[in-house]
Amino acid sequence: MRVENLYKKMEKSIIEGNKEEAERLAREAIAQRLDLNEVINKGFVPGILEVGRLWEEGEYFLPELLTSAECMKSAMSILEPELIKSGNKRKTEGKVVIGTVEGDIHDIGKNLVAAMLTANGFEVIDLGADVPLNMFVDKAVQEDANIICLSALLTTTMIGQKKVIDILKLKSLKGKIKVMVGGAPVTKEWAERIGADGYGENAIEAVKIAKYLMNR
């Protein structure tokens, strides 16, 4: 099969949310000894970008978005170990530390953002929910992360987002590590007031903002 046809099939498998097909095509690329970074960037990535576009146009809904994100993650879990074996590494969009702030145990929204960031090529370190505020900064420093994503679902816990930014300021890391905030009570105004670098109203917007912050 011509490599361009293979890429088209990969793109289609992500758009249609066909996990088995995406996994099969990833294995086929390995068997054909193709350049796996090219396979990711020309085959699978256009698929997830198209899914994002379809979602923005109102054509796709959350279940389709998530199914495609699952497919992308499955294909990557086959390709990435092979890349490492061959001494390469997937070129990521950036490294993100994500979690729900201390005192808050909601994690669904945060999980959706993490899934979409992963599907769109970010390396995501998910700290879970109810994360001590210092841990966000410590982990970001330890992992040399570019962005910290802070989720909060209550007005009583969103203050934790501000406190993490204060910790970054204290450690002279503000600006070096970017901060994105999100969650039901969080608004663009709140993000600006506390000095966050970005605010995503939903998972797709979060991906866009993260990409923008990486290029700034």
Binding site: L62, P63, E70, G103, D104, D107, I108, N111, L154, T155
Partner: protein, 221 residues
């Protein structure tokens, strides 16, 4: 805490229509093969989901004089405070599925849980409202801390009156309940009929983009 008048209930019926679940998951406006696929998946998951639901509720009726005199209780003769939950197992399973890259299944479990605890709260509401009527009072609609002017911090008062831990609910310092799929609320008992008693909680709330909204947004004139 007085042990008097604390009533625990373990018998609730939880039964969510798959079509309702799909609507909440966001496929309400669409007719497609994807919708049928999703419906099949939901129907397949429901028996497993139901095994993980352990509904429990607790309530207590107190006199107005025993409240903390918050304006939310104004004009009530008595107040019922209530907490209910579907237990921690479903949300644990949902998180586990998401960790295993089964994000959509995880979301289906979580969404079912949100609807399930809402059904439990509705049934507990009916039990309490019927009791109010038998006692000769007019019950208000139920209302939860965190909505309107009843701040989330008022959870502390509810948990002072009710032993939440007896049905497995813990109040965190952020006033969030654990398990997440829990609801706390109050129903005021009035001695005279009250206006708007049939209106839903949505009519009091101004989150105009909420996917669960079933009332028009109140205009600010």
């Amino acid at each position: 805490m007085q042990r008097m008048n604390i009533i625990k209930i373990n018998e609730f019926i939880v039964d969510i229509n798959p079509d309702d679940l799909i609507r909440i998951l966001g496929l309400k406006r669409k007719k497609s093969s994807k919708k049928e696929e999703l419906k099949k998946l939901v129907i397949k998951e429901i028996p497993e989901i139901k095994k993980l639901i352990k509904p429990r509720g607790i309530y207590r009726i107190i006199d107005y004089e025993e409240t903390n005199r918050h304006p939310i209780f104004n004009n009530a003769k008595k107040v019922a405070l209530a907490i209910c939950t579907i237990g921690p197992e479903l949300e644990r399973k949902s998180s586990e599925l998401m960790r295993k890259n089964q994000i959509l299944r995880g979301l289906i479990y979580d969404t079912y849980g949100s609807e399930a605890v809402e059904q439990v709260a509705c049934q507990l509401d009916r039990i309490i409202s019927n009791k109010a009527r038998k006692m000769g009072f007019w019950p208000s609609k139920r209302f939860s801390p965190g909505y309107g002017k009843w701040r989330i911090e008022e959870q502390a008062f509810i948990f002072k009156v009710l032993p939440g831990e007896e049905i497995g609910i813990r109040l965190k310092s952020s006033y969030m309940m654990e398990p997440r799929k829990s609801i706390s609320f109050r129903i005021n008992f009035y001695s005279e009929p009250i206006q708007n008693s049939k209106k839903s909680m949505c009519s009091e709330c101004e989150m105009k983009n909420c996917p669960f909204r079933n009332e028009p947004v109140k205009s600010k004139v």
